[in-house]
């Protein structure tokens, strides 16, 4: 894919099914429920280039999903607004109401877009702290697109040595294309194969494809091992 696909109009449904049709039946889910895309942006400035990148990735993902016949709902969360709540959750051990609502949105998303500024060679502390206060099994199996912004392109591999291992640990499914936006990316036109718009389109397409292939996210169920089984596991041979 070398160019960003256009947002399809209602009349383009036929073309969409033709594109996906050759792969069998890629999307089993009910057309009635919109897929939920949540983008988490850890930028600190206002306006924030991290937020801008999150917005563009979210919109591109929604466009891909729409094109594939999946209505989608997009939510963008700025961690800046939750900075105090996140610090409080770290010292008390539980999230307050506002943060809990955000965590529920993130862990209930069908697809997650996680965007951090790169500070001191890695994700920002605020970004990491947010994922530290989420249960470490809550994102298992969830499609995730990782992205970052930075003051220089020399730090772009932070996506691969910091963000990708974090989400691998959380057993999320991270799409192959990670998107890094350096200052020069914002100033280039959208005409080259490797430019920012193309990378956004490719990453969003990968996320949308994964989201279309998996069953809808359901809230984590607390499973209890029956007590007899717990006892039996301890019985000496």
């Amino acid at each position: 894919m070398s160019t960003v696909p256009p947002v399809p109009s209602a009349g383009e449904e036929g073309r969409v099914s033709e594109r996906f049709g050759e792969h069998g039946t890629p999307h089993e889910k009910s057309r009635a429920d919109p897929l939920r895309v949540v983008a988490v942006a850890a930028g600190l400035g206002t306006p924030s280039s991290t937020r801008l990148l999150a917005d563009r990735l979210a919109a591109a993902t929604r466009d891909h999903l729409t094109e594939a016949g999946h209505p989608a709902e997009v939510t963008v969360v700025e961690l800046r607004d939750l900075a105090t709540d996140i610090a409080n959750a770290m010292v008390t051990g539980f999230p307050g109401t506002r943060l809990r609502t955000t965590i529920e949105a993130v862990t209930g998303a069908d697809g997650l877009i996680a965007v951090s500024p790169i500070f001191s060679a890695s994700y920002s502390g605020l970004f990491k702290s947010f994922f530290d206060v989420i249960d470490n099994t809550a994102l298992a199996g969830r499609p995730v697109l990782i992205a970052a912004t930075g003051g220089t392109a020399r730090h772009s591999l932070a996506l691969e040595h910091a963000l990708r291992p974090l989400f691998t640990y959380l057993r999320a499914i991270v799409v192959p294309t990670a998107v890094y936006a350096a200052p020069e990316d914002w100033g280039t036109g959208g005409d080259g194969a490797g430019d920012l718009a193309a990378r956004i389109g490719r990453a969003a397409g990968e996320l949308a494809a994964l989201m279309g292939h998996r069953p809808p996210a359901s809230p984590a169920q607390e499973t209890v091992v029956p007590f007899e089984d717990q006892l039996a596991a301890l019985r000496p041979d």
Binding site: A87, F94, T97, E222, V225, P226, F227, Q230, L231
Partner: protein
């Protein structure tokens, strides 16, 4: 319904004076608080068990034995007894002895403990926390019910022809509560045995405990001990009161802001919104406590934490006066009025003995 207090037994500096009590002062203060609890008409005193500073209560049955000798009516309990790092044989012996000395006014709450370094001090490993809790309690349960036990397990040496002495008073084991902050496995364990479940809800928001207690009630019924509504539930809650709520907030704020367990995070007001903490008038404590019943169903035991955050003994004793005079009498009346028939009280030695004797003719008293 039973009302009481539980203490962590922390030695915490008073942030308004900078003074830290000695261990001896803290231990004698805990005893004074327990005696006062009986004086003001409360039902239960429970002490924590800890093996690291800044906590003093490493030897709960020693302290409870002393309190037993100086009280008449108070039920003596723990919050919690470490079922992971204590040898179940020693728990069986210590609490049976305490039962005899206290005339049966004894129950206990089992918990795992959550501090990694403590486990190896007692030859254990925190990674085995849940299996230790399950195996140790399975043995403890037998030691109190079978006169001669042959046993083999993973975590301690086998027993051959072992009799734990003294036998429980009147052959009735102490009632057991299983305390939990987060583990569904412990709710399941409590339900399996038909024991009590104490949700120490003092820090986490209520939704979490609604799920945990809901699970316990459902599994209690599943194992045939009664209806979900008949399961035996206990709850915590922490309070600070003055007659005028503004005075309570003004006086408690420096304690809250600096306490190791509360301070340097959310504001007092945010913490009160999210947890059972109530800082205000006796009426506010009454109102908040009554909401627990709406959230968790009718329950059997309410324990308040009142000697927290480095409060001086004099202040804690004033809190007990307010609890005994203004809060608990109203709560007893209000809870009783709302409680449907068929919801039992928490078992006591007397009630368990009476139930046993109606089922089978009285045996020879031990």
């Amino acid at each position: 319904m039973q009302f009481g207090i539980f203490t962590v037994g922390d030695v915490t500096p008073d942030p308004t004076t900078g003074r830290t009590p000695s261990e001896h002062e803290r231990i004698t203060a805990m005893v004074r608080i327990a005696l006062k609890a009986e004086e003001v008409g409360l039902d239960v005193f429970a002490t924590g068990e800890h093996h690291n500073p800044p906590f003093v209560p490493s030897s709960p049955t020693t302290m409870l034995g002393h309190i037993a000798a100086r009280t008449e009516r108070l039920i003596l309990s723990t919050a919690t007894t470490l079922i992971t790092t204590n040898d179940p044989v020693k728990i069986a012996e210590d609490f049976a002895m305490l039962q005899h000395l206290a005339g049966g006014r004894v129950d206990l709450m089992l918990g795992r403990g959550n501090t990694g370094p403590v486990y190896p001090w007692f030859g254990q490993d925190i990674r085995q926390g849940v299996p230790l809790a399950i195996e140790n309690y399975a043995l403890l349960h037998r030691l109190w019910r079978e006169d001669v036990v042959d046993w083999k397990g993973r975590f301690r040496t086998p027993l051959q022809g072992f009799t734990s002495t003294p036998r429980p008073l009147d052959g009735i084991p102490p009632f057991v509560w299983h305390g939990s902050i987060r583990s569904p496995e412990i709710a399941e364990q409590a339900a399996y045995y038909g024991d009590g479940f104490f949700a120490n809800n003092i820090f986490w928001p209520k939704e979490h405990f609604q799920r945990l207690i809901g699970l316990y009630r459902e599994r209690y019924a599943h194992y045939g001990h009664g209806t979900p509504e008949q399961a035996i539930v206990g709850l915590g809650g922490q309070v600070f009161m003055r007659r005028n709520s503004q005075d309570a907030v003004r006086e408690f704020r420096p304690y809250f802001d600096n306490a190791p367990v509360y301070g340097h995070g959310p504001s007092l007001e945010e913490f009160m919104d999210e947890t059972p903490l109530t800082v205000g008038s006796p009426q506010q404590v009454i109102d908040k406590t009554l909401t627990f019943r709406e959230h968790f169903g009718d329950y059997q035991r309410q324990l308040f934490l009142i000697d927290h955050a480095g409060l001086p003994l004099k202040t804690v004793l004033e809190q007990l006066d307010l609890l005994g005079e203004e809060v608990v009498p109203v709560l007893r009346k209000e809870f009783a009025a709302r409680r449907p028939a068929g919801v039992p009280d928490a078992p006591t030695h007397a009630s368990l003995l009476a139930a046993r004797d109606t089922e089978t003719p009285a045996e020879t008293a031990r």
